[in-house]
Subunit: 118 residues, 2 copies
């Protein structure tokens, strides 16, 4: 038995729970986007269709805190996460958000300060 | 000296602080609107230009909790409050929000569940 696991490394065999499209709540989405770090993450994800790991974002927080932010985004239905090895790859649930709350994501991103870097 | 004051009654001589338009932050606005009660209050305020007291909203919370919600909305720059006697009259800062974050308020209100009553 190894002890290499840290709190940042997820359990690859564990299924990651996501809300269904119809279960996505406006309040949870707004709360998820009300944090500047999470908003920057979402803005970076919105720039392309690529999948990103937590470590690929230039945000001023520890990896553990970043992981926490991704959990809030996932539970709100804003992003989708999947395992690849010990990494979690993240994508924006743009279609689901657009179907549920037309124009919302785009309007919020347009209102966000332009400070996004990768 | 009377002891009629309760926590719900504000101090009419105290000035109510509001952020300037340029100080209104996206994160604070999204947080303010992420609560279903506050969103219902804002939706009701958006229906007309009239001023409303806390007690005029049909929301399932105590007056004290309602007062707390109005404080968060005011500090975020979403509403303006002014004294009239012992009451606080509330109006939506629609123009300030529109100037700061074009389309945001309208898009969020369109996404909100239609449960607003007075």
């Amino acid at each position: 038995m190894t002890t290499q696991a840290t709190e940042e490394i997820s359990h690859p065999t564990e299924e990651i729970a996501h809300p269904e499209r119809a279960e996505i709540e406006l309040g949870a989405v707004l709360h998820a986007l009300s944090d500047s770090v999470r908003l920057r993450i979402v803005a970076a994800l919105a720039e392309g269709d690529a999948e990103h790991t937590c470590g690929s974002f230039d945000v001023p927080v520890t990896k553990s805190t970043c992981t926490h932010h991704f959990k809030i985004l996932r539970e709100a239905g804003v992003i989708h996460q999947r395992h690849e090895g010990t990494a979690r790859l993240n994508t924006l649930r743009r279609d689901d958000l657009e179907a549920r709350f037309p124009g919302l994501l785009e309007t919020i991103l347009q209102s966000a300060p332009r400070r996004v870097t990768r």
